[in-house]
Symmetry: C2
Subunit: 479 residues, 2 copies
């Protein structure tokens, strides 16, 4: 008989009908007369209760139905007497597909720490928490593509291996096929990169933006969604060495259009999660409340679903960096010296504590800051007429701080090359990027969303290593 997924069966009204389910045993409990097996196949957070009449089954078989074992059950759907489910499956026959030695199986039917689960990331898909995260992650991936597809954007696969280092976004991973234990050398004793696979030094991309701009300046509206890499040696709950970024880039968009798109995009994703992942979000909300049980009320997060709705229901506050500096300078924590980094007027680089103060305490809404000092932003951002600020924008969220960073791009060849000269970025290496400003340049804008940052926000998880299947971090490349 065709397999029915657990999630579908739990919604079924076909009482009395025969069904086949297959999945992994979460728990088995019971007595001499009847056993109850909680079965999960990944299709949802809720388990199916399989009822095993002990008179019908060999005891030796039932004993093999242990946590982690895989079974196939033919049975009859019946209304459930127990709390927490409408239906259950009365087993007619059971096949053990794969045993799981209870003395060796690492996932016991109890709460494991997230740290422990990271060490067995190959099995953590089988837990409630990581199952829920995996489903939400998929839903968010799909929603990203659906949002842009509906709007006529084209997904562009920008290169992963690149020879350019233009973004200057920090440390990079080198990619090579040279035998590094026995390097080819030039006559001058330098490493002979002409012998390397690509004939020159290459590294893993830190951003697809520059290539995205090339595409946008022909296709109008594009987005990337791919892995990006930072070789920063920092072990934090907010950083990964390998993470996924979404970078839309749009010709004919000025900064306001860019802000509008960013706000619409984030709201679309969050609405999609509420519409499609409510069971998982409810579970994750309870998980978070459980975790914060010991905390003082003032330290607790906003309830997860309430927090998501809060973003949907509020227009994002838009103000300039300069206005934000004024707010922060005159704020209580600044005056009382409570900020770790005091705010000292225009030019201060905002820290996470400042961003969160603006969002969580002052405005109590998501915030978009614009027009940052050019010194603290990248070379490709459009210079304002004041000659001191650039058309940058950062979207700040509660809990997360910066969730999106973007800007209108400098479309003037003269201004762009002048800025590159100031910042010692060699023109020769960027000839292809500059060509777009030489031939049919147009006003254009774009932004980047770190996908795992979004995942932290939507799931309420606090460590970024818990929202990606196989996290990469310093000294950590398991599986």
């Amino acid at each position: 008989m065709q397999r029915t997924k657990v999630a579908d069966l739990l919604r079924s009204k076909e009482i009395g009908k025969p069904f086949t389910v297959k999945g992994w045993v979460r728990t088995r409990r019971g007595n001499k007369h009847v056993n109850f097996v909680a079965l999960n196949d990944g299709s949802g957070i809720n388990n199916l209760q399989v009822v095993v009449d002990m008179e019908q089954f060999d005891e030796a078989l039932v004993r093999r139905i242990t946590t982690g074992a895989a079974i196939s059950v033919d049975g009859e759907l019946q209304e459930s007497q127990g709390a927490g489910q409408n239906v259950e499956l009365l087993a007619k026959s059971i096949e053990i597909l794969g045993d799981s030695d209870p003395d060796k199986y690492p996932l016991q039917p109890k709460k494991h720490s997230l740290e422990f689960l990271r060490e067995i990331a190959h099995l953590r898909f089988r837990t409630n928490t990581f199952g829920a995260i995996t489903r939400v992650r998929h839903a968010m991936i799909f929603a990203v593509h659906e949002f842009f597809n509906k709007k006529g954007f084209y997904n562009i696969h920008t290169p992963i291996i690149t020879a350019s280092d233009a973004e200057g976004a920090g440390e990079m991973f080198q990619v090579t096929t040279l035998d590094i234990d026995n390097l080819p050398r030039t006559e001058e004793g330098e490493i002979d990169y002409s012998k390397d696979f690509f004939g020159k030094p290459t590294n893993l991309t830190v951003s697809g933006q520059l290539e995205g701009e090339l595409a946008a300046l022909a296709m109008s509206e594009i987005y990337t969604f791919g892995p990006t890499f930072r070789a920063e040696n920092s072990n934090t709950t907010r950083h990964l060495s390998e993470f996924w970024m979404i970078e839309p880039e749009m010709a004919f968009y000025e900064l306001t259009d860019n802000m509008d798109l960013a706000e619409e995009f984030l709201k679309y994703l969050i609405q999609y999660a509420l519409d499609n992942c409510m069971d998982d979000l409810q579970f994750l909300s309870q998980r978070l409340q459980q975790e914060e049980k010991g905390k003082k009320d003032t330290e607790k997060s906003m309830e997860l679903i309430e927090k998501l709705k809060f973003v949907l229901e509020n227009d994002f506050i838009r103000l300039t960096y300069e206005e934000a500096i004024n707010v922060l300078e005159n704020s209580k924590p600044n005056k009382k010296g409570k900020f770790q980094y005091p705010v000292k007027g225009f030019g201060t680089d905002l820290q996470s504590e400042h961003e969160r103060y603006l969002v969580e305490k002052h405005f109590k809404k998501p915030v978009i800051l614009t027009d940052y000092p050019k010194e603290i932003k990248a070379f490709y951002m459009k210079l304002n007429d004041d000659n001191k600020t650039v058309r940058a924008m950062d979207v700040l969220f509660p809990q997360i701080g910066e969730i999106i960073g973007g800007s209108q791009r400098e479309e003037s060849y003269e201004k762009l090359t002048a800025r590159m000269a100031e910042m010692n970025i060699p023109e020769e290496e960027m000839w292809w990027f500059l060509d777009t400003r030489r031939f049919g340049t147009v006003p254009h804008s774009g932004f980047g969303l770190g996908f795992e940052r979004l995942m932290l926000f939507v799931t309420g998880m606090t460590n970024i290593r818990d929202v990606i299947p196989f996290p990469r971090a310093p000294k950590s490349a398991e599986f």
Copy 2:
């Protein structure tokens, strides 16, 4: 006024209404009285004809409307007298957004070779051919996600940087942050990889399958869609160093279910292209016919759209490797010695010429071959009871040869470890993979589709470097 996309305007019936369009000039032609500008903004293969009444405009402005320049036009939609379009835009005002010096702009209004366009990959999005490919590529990406989302599969981001080399799929790219010019050494003089970023040697992934299996053995049905890498030093029209792969992996699927899914998947993608990309496909079909003009009829490809429909309308032929060998041994080209690699019974590794003979000459349908000799397939494939073949499947297409490769996986811990021992694959490095066979193993299957192979098939292009925006190949990592 809000910008309207060219593709939308070309479908519009609102004759006499005002519109604003923005885009890049493909050509301008005309006389003293009237000029016609062909404008494209990437939204479709067809240009908008902008009609410029020379009495209304400054000649100096019009002279700047050159190939490659970006302009914004306010105008009135009117029915077109010319052939090839229903509507055109009568310009009321024109703004030059970005000039394009006609003496320097590399893209002249003539046919450029694909080789030349690869050298200016940053600008080739602005050509008809690459614009069409970019739109089709996006459509295929979206269709992949839509197909799996509808079926309840979860997209899994498997790691790009990995420490495992289990697939043995060939040469790999090393990823490192060591200063390779000044390597840290152990006391024994070995490279001290404990000082490398991840504390051990790492490389770029060749496949997400093994991690995909981990997810499938909890979530039931998953798929990956990400970049994969091969450091093979071969410059061919069929290979890239960096390419995108789609790898679904399904618990509870046996080989027949796997074949059913592969066939349904390919047909879904092709149907989606026909439903959503007909303008671009028609253009690509004409392009191909143009390119093959000099060829003999027997050497010409099947017309593109006919070829796509041909796949849709036929059940794929399914036969075993052994049956295929019989067909090939008794085939005319084999008997007449026309194959470069003669077919010599069971064990022969099939070459592209054999695959294409089966598909194009013998069956005249897509073919799925199954049950290959274990010696020529990977260690993780399920061994048949004959102990000499494995439950592999290859889907063979006209023009492409192998477009999908997959198998039912070996779910037995004992058989898997025995096979690994035979093939000298160390168990210690694969403990996490083997754990899935120790705890709740189930029958499962999966396959891999090289996305650029699909793109070759759907677009009729013949060089794989022309169906990915920024191809990576030996000595080639530009942009």
